[in-house]
Subunit: 238 residues, 2 copies
DNA sequence: ACAAAAGTGTTCGTACTACACCCATGC
DNA sequence: GCATGGGTGTAGTACGAACACTTTTGT
């Protein structure tokens, strides 16, 4: 076996985390991007991300980036994929672990800091060219999100604490880029018994006000223990 | 902004790939492990994995490990998750990108080499304690596999080029750890129109010989283009 | 009264479930 | 001829799909 010193050649890489931060606003799915103000990719929009510290766990690094750049804690965060093409960064070999997070857009108070002079929400349909391989990362994260919301009740993370059934439907429609049938959607969601009726309604709308609901986390846990499976369908049958 | 040199502190990490190689034999789902013969974890069973070269893509590294340690090329390979807890490796900061691969067990001719003196298939239900955090990696990969075979026709990668419907059913039963109803399973599979009837049958069995099928890759592509969705169900209805 | 979205009930088709028996081969 | 798995048909049911009208509020 080679002596331990011979492995030193391998310890010359760096790694980063990049966050695809999803939000839902104005009926559109959006992503929070920062505008870089240094080379490489000066002036390009990029995903918020940074180097992982030497003694920092990956998840912790992703959380730190969220906290420092967006001022958010305790948001839904999930690792998506790791990107490590040899030429993807100019400084040397940098691989990046991509995360996606789901935030309630009203909670976000973007902070300009460091490389990020500008922080802005962008509709996912209209991103333009991003720095590095961030375009590809967004695409992978988005596909993951589309699948995940089908079988896990995480869409609620994107909605305010009190939302209407129509809000929820619009959210699914925006992410899946489909239309869903109102009555069937409502029937399906309500039959799962996952929503708490808050007993309140919308106010100040120029039509019949809708009931407000919240996601019942405890109820979901209880159902899970009984073997319940959350599942919604995207496609109409052929 | 800090000058470029200040980033050098970050370029002191190494990364590896680890492969969870699944095979199916004797009605059981198995994983290919190597027995280490050096510290740390001398004598422990471990996942086949190695450092990624400086100019090597991640997927390519995973393929190389497969080729060098198992003598296999062109097998199904998919990135699963990246593990990077600070203390997970003794040499320094090492993060590992985990892959899983699906192989036809008859194709494998394990080679002892380097750190791997022994290479052996182990039933997933009976692994014992593995080196490093490999037990956790296996667990994550297995969960991923359970989900993936539900919505993607990848189970076939674990079967020989000609297989019977019963083989396929046993495969699903082994991975999901459930029993499936024979007639319904066959009906569902055949209705998808994804299998080529090879016109041959088993030979030398002490009962009515079963028809042999193969997975029709071209047919699957064609169906995909029409919007077809592969999907099987694990659970019986409540 | 009108606009605008909320909310609801029923029919129809289809796909999953559950179940029992005959078939082809080796020994 | 018997043991062993291979292979099939059908009836019941539950769930998703499709569809049109009434209700409540603000202006």
């Amino acid at each position: 076996m080679p002596p331990r010193e011979s492995f030193n050649a391998y310890f010359k890489s760096a790694f980063t985390v990049d966050n695809v931060i999803f939000g839902f606003d104005e009926g559109k799915l959006k992503i929070l991007l920062i505008r870089r103000n240094e080379e490489p990719y000066d002036n390009y929009w990029a995903l918020p991300g940074y180097f992982v510290m030497q003694d920092e766990d990956l998840d912790a690094a992703a959380q730190r980036v969220l906290r420092e750049m967006v001022g958010l804690e305790n948001v839904y965060l999930e690792q998506v994929h790791t990107f490590g093409a040899p030429g993807r960064h100019d400084f040397g070999r940098v691989i990046t672990v991509a995360y996606y997070s789901l935030v309630k857009i009203a909670d976000v108070s973007p902070k300009a800091s460091g490389v990020a002079q500008e922080v802005m929400w962008h509709p996912v349909q209209d991103l333009g060219e991003l720095a590095f391989d961030h375009g590809e990362i967004v695409s992978v994260a988005l596909n993951r999100l589309k699948r995940s919301i089908r079988t896990r009740p995480i869409g609620f993370e994107l909605l305010p604490p009190a939302f209407t059934l129509t809000d929820l439907q619009h959210l699914y429609e925006a992410i899946w880029e489909t239309d869903l049938e109102k009555r069937n959607f409502r029937k399906k969601i309500l039959s799962m018994d996952l929503l708490k009726d808050l007993g309140r309604s919308q106010e100040g709308v120029a039509h019949r006000p809708a009931k407000l609901y919240s996601f019942d986390e405890d109820r979901y846990q209880a159902l899970m223990d009984e073997g319940f499976n959350f599942e919604l369908r995207e496609g109409k049958r052929k």
